[in-house]
Symmetry: C3
């Protein structure tokens, strides 16, 4: 077999390959949250359940990739980066997929629906979170490409841009969260208290999606630092 | 003194010994949750307080073992496994004992009682969580035995079975949690909202007991991987 | 340039210097919570917003220090302590600053006010938490001084006292939390349920300030263990 990656020629698979496969699953997990959200708002609980199942399946596949990476890590003396840094990164990535699964679990279980007044802001907020996860995936894909094509661009520069974009997206998600919490605060009196608390929980969890995606970036920065 | 463990003969105590002592305390901590739960349901707050004290004492002993392990880890160049993997494992174990303590703290402080309709499912759910912790303890005991008796069974095979059992138990706890949340959701309207939120918190925390017990298994798998 | 620190003479900056700079910011972050709390109780929302901004700015500076430390860690073969232990410590410290920021975010966003009956106990509880963070800062300052002046006192002894003080303060905060939860439990019926839940959240987060400050101590103990 011919591969254009000298790194794997000499030292076996790049440690970034399984990380990339994992973030791809994770990112697909996150993207499914949008059709899921739309289904809940349309009270189409069958569709919501189908999306929930897809997300659970993707999360399970990500989990399997995480376990494989963990168990295969110690087998190579040629690991060019810190083993505990890699374990930390896969762990941060995995929490994104878990959070997506948890969001759908609570929303479907309680047949939650976001109040109409909140829905547009909530959907936009979710889109930002998904975009942040997508950006983390792009950063890993770019790293893999640098390894494969060897164009010799400066890795630190490339990563620097991704880190900045991730930071901007996470900041935008933060601002959106503040606005949504403010709007919900105005509506609180009219809603059942327990439903209000679970709405706040979903808002918090969506924020954690983009927060952890940004942390994937910080971890990549540590890994590729010189 | 005569010991039948060549490993400790050559390199001092096996790093699994303090980990085993710690999971034993942790497991005893978790087991006490059942009589505690029964006392709260019987409104026997004196008995509940006694069990709470026992759990707090066990958690304190586990904590001391954790600190001892941490401070004594760096003293040996002969540590046959990754130091940060061991610190991670003891840390996961310790969170189980802490969670058991927190559950009793909230329940006793609020004199919480699970609604009668929920109680049987809740007790069964708690039993599953305790069984998962017990299984994690069995995995460590088995490892210690392999070290002591040297019967030469394949460690990976033995661990593989424990990991599978832990996974099955955790999955069962997950299913039970979904059922209980569904039942509580039906009852919500009849209960004070703040009490409902704390019931959900206890349900979540019991789930974390089995979740972390399963993570003890994953960590052992990483430690014993070849 | 002349420096009185042989350690940095030979091996470049002590790894404790950036950690110390970070805990100083973190501690200033925590101290600001008291005037912020007083402003909220006085319904002076402009002053509260000003304190919130100061805390956010300090948290941002701490974050920058954390990133710098992380990216500069791998550049020295002479790191006299475990790299992952240092990353763990800076990570624990950083969570203190984040928590202080989160507390002000929720309280200002909801214009939260602690019920008058609870306020004195709550303020005392907050003071204990801030004192625990201050104690963690003192421990790092003391370590730095030992490095600079080289008075040859036994590091383990010095650390032992700080660890004990941190433990005592954290224990005191725990007791105060139990009392406050009990008082709030009595008041629950008279308050809007969602407000009650957020009060419990603030109580929990203040507890996490002192909990994490104590963990800074445990981490220093691991780092300076022989």
């Amino acid at each position: 077999m011919v591969t254009s990656n000298p790194f794997s020629a000499l030292f076996g698979r790049s440690p970034f390959e399984p990380l990339l496969a994992h973030i791809v699953k994770t990112s697909e997990c996150a993207e499914r949250l949008l059709p899921f959200f739309d289904a809940t708002q349309a009270s189409d609980w069958d569709a919501a359940a189908t999306h929930r199942e897809a997300i659970t399946a993707l999360e399970h596949e990500a989990d399997t990739l995480k376990t494989e990476l963990r168990l295969n890590l110690p087998n190579s003396m040629f690991l060019p980066v810190s083993r505990s840094d890699l374990l930390e990164l896969i762990s941060v990535q995995d929490k994104i997929a878990n959070k997506a699964r948890d969001i759908t679990g609570i929303m479907l279980g309680r047949q939650m629906q976001v109040p109409e007044a909140l829905a547009p802001a909530m959907r936009a907020y979710l889109e930002t979170a998904i975009a942040t996860v997508g950006q983390a995936r792009k950063a890993l894909e770019e790293l893999q490409e640098l390894l494969d094509s060897g164009f010799g661009r400066n890795v630190s520069d490339v990563m620097h841009n991704f880190i900045r974009d991730l930071h901007d997206l996470e900041h935008q998600a933060d601002d959106q969260q503040v606005q949504i919490r403010r709007q919900l605060f105005q509506l609180e009196a009219e809603l059942p208290p327990v439903d209000v608390m679970f709405l706040y929980k979903i808002i918090e969890w969506i924020g954690e999606l983009s927060d952890r995606a940004e942390r994937v970036g910080s971890r990549l920065q540590i890994l590729t630092a010189r």
